[in-house]
Symmetry: C2
Subunit: 313 residues, 2 copies
């Protein structure tokens, strides 16, 4: 079973406006609210592809009611730890005229210590059945620094590998704690490590203790960085679509392979890049196109040589 | 008692971002959620100034829970008709770097016929104690065309004058139904009447049956248009501040005077302009500065002569 933890979930709203103009007042048509957060997207994708999954997260307040109802309706197996503070909201404002999407994510409210302990307890309870642990998404401001390292260490003690997709200091702490896989994008890597070249940054995380860094590069595909190699996978031609959730689909691919005991970096890189691309073809995060095998056949995979620019997506 | 009806309330959120960029992803600090809608703002201002008020509106869904809790905490007397659909949300995105505020209002969901009937029933129950009825704000898409005229007619039968602050076809229907006062801004007036000159547009609403049109002009103050006169009031110098809710404060001033039996257009115009200006000095809609009497002393009031531009705010 793939166990995912989402420490800072969000109720995702989509609002459509004719044209978004800074400083103006707009009328919006509201789409359906959806339970969001990277770990939930990972679980949705893996579950839809037939994997056994369990998504752990928190919910609270009026937004938590809608969040819990939507995740229950989705059919994705889950456990929700009740918290006092309201689940944050995230709004995607879609400009119908230009097609731009502007995203505003509330930062989220830090759970109390007993609430963190309850979430940790759910992980401990579920670990004996888990083949891989995925920790995905941001942490709310003020979150205990020990939370991610503690999860990684506890999973290791249970013989369960961990895949971590987060940013900032938590990404570096995950490397120090010996995460099996880290999945930053280039900007997150530069910001977290302070190293201008993302490949050097990825190598620094390997040196700290991570086994594999999957470095997502948007339309340029993905790198797999290990202690010995750097492989680059990309599609033979760019795809048009919605990049939201592409990284989560890559994490889901990695989780499915790790749960099956497959850890060969090239196999993981190929599947993660194909599922990321297949997510771009879908309108919502947490879904991938059934065409992912065709996309996998279009991958160009080669050892990486050149230096990356800091502003690679 | 001042009775206000808000047919399309909203849960108002304020989000602060460093810099709002169309097409980008932002992290927002969320402020407190507040029960919003123009009729509620009118009731808040009048209540804070010591008037007897009752605010009638609807609430539903997860947002309705927060809406009802906030209006209850505010201390403003109110009755909330429960509806099945969720109360809409409205978000003000404040750009901390430039100070711009970008507003996104969900359109709102039309109540069912029995829910409209329940709201109408609350008005009928409250009218015997009312000295003036205020109908403020937009109507949700698909709202029955008869709702505003029916309220105006029912109030007239009960000997209660009506003040209507709405837009589009509902504004014209309110004039046809013989509203005592209409409070459009210049853009709303041009859009509703199709007449390019706002003063001519206001006169057309008087010809249809309204007694007084208070035409708000933003920093240029306000006009009072009756069958015989057009008076212009403005401050001697512009004010810096937050114009959100300035129109509602003007309506509150008018309502307080009408509830006291004062209907002289110049007196109403002076108080409405002073309270509008006093709202600009406050950070939140639904509040006015205690300095409104000083601002009233700074008013320049004169018969209106020149033609207004269509783009006056």
């Amino acid at each position: 079973m793939i166990l995912t933890v989402t420490p800072n979930p969000a109720l995702d709203l989509t609002w459509r406006v004719d044209r978004l103009t800074v400083g103006a007042t707009h009328r919006a048509d509201a789409g359906a609210a959806r339970a969001g957060g990277k770990g939930l997207n990972v679980a949705r994708v893996a579950h839809a592809q037939g994997a056994s999954t369990l998504a752990l997260t928190t919910a609270g307040g009026r937004t938590g009611i809608a969040f819990s109802a939507e995740i229950a309706a989705s059919g994705v197996p889950h456990r929700v730890v009740p918290v006092a503070a309201a689940t944050r909201q995230s709004v995607a404002i879609v400009d119908e005229e230009l097609g731009d999407t502007t995203i505003i994510n509330e930062r989220g409210v830090n759970p109390t210590d007993p609430e963190w302990a309850a979430l940790f307890g759910e992980v401990v309870d579920a670990l004996p059945s888990a083949r891989v642990l995925v920790i995905s998404g941001s942490l709310p401001p003020g979150a205990p620094e020990s939370f991610v390292p503690l999860l990684i260490g506890t999973a290791r003690d249970a013989g369960v590998p961990t895949i971590v997709d987060t940013s900032g200091a938590a990404l570096v702490r995950a490397a120090d704690a010996g995460a099996s896989v880290l999945k930053p994008n280039a900007a997150e890597l530069v910001e977290a490590t302070g190293i201008a070249d993302p490949v050097d940054g990825a190598r620094s995380l390997i040196a700290r203790g991570a086994e594999l860094v999957l470095l997502s590069l948007g339309a340029d595909g993905m790198l797999a960085v290990t202690a010995s190699d750097v492989l680059h996978a990309r599609l033979d031609a760019p795809l048009a679509g919605n990049p939201t959730g592409a990284g989560d689909a890559g994490v889901a691919a990695c989780a499915v392979l790790y749960a099956d005991g497959v850890r060969d970096p090239e196999t993981v890189l190929r599947r993660a890049t194909a599922w990321s691309a297949a997510a771009v073809l879908m309108p919502l995060a947490g879904e991938i196109s059934d065409d992912w095998r065709t996309l996998g056949g279009r991958l160009v995979v080669a050892p990486h040589t050149s230096t990356l620019r800091e502003d690679s997506p």
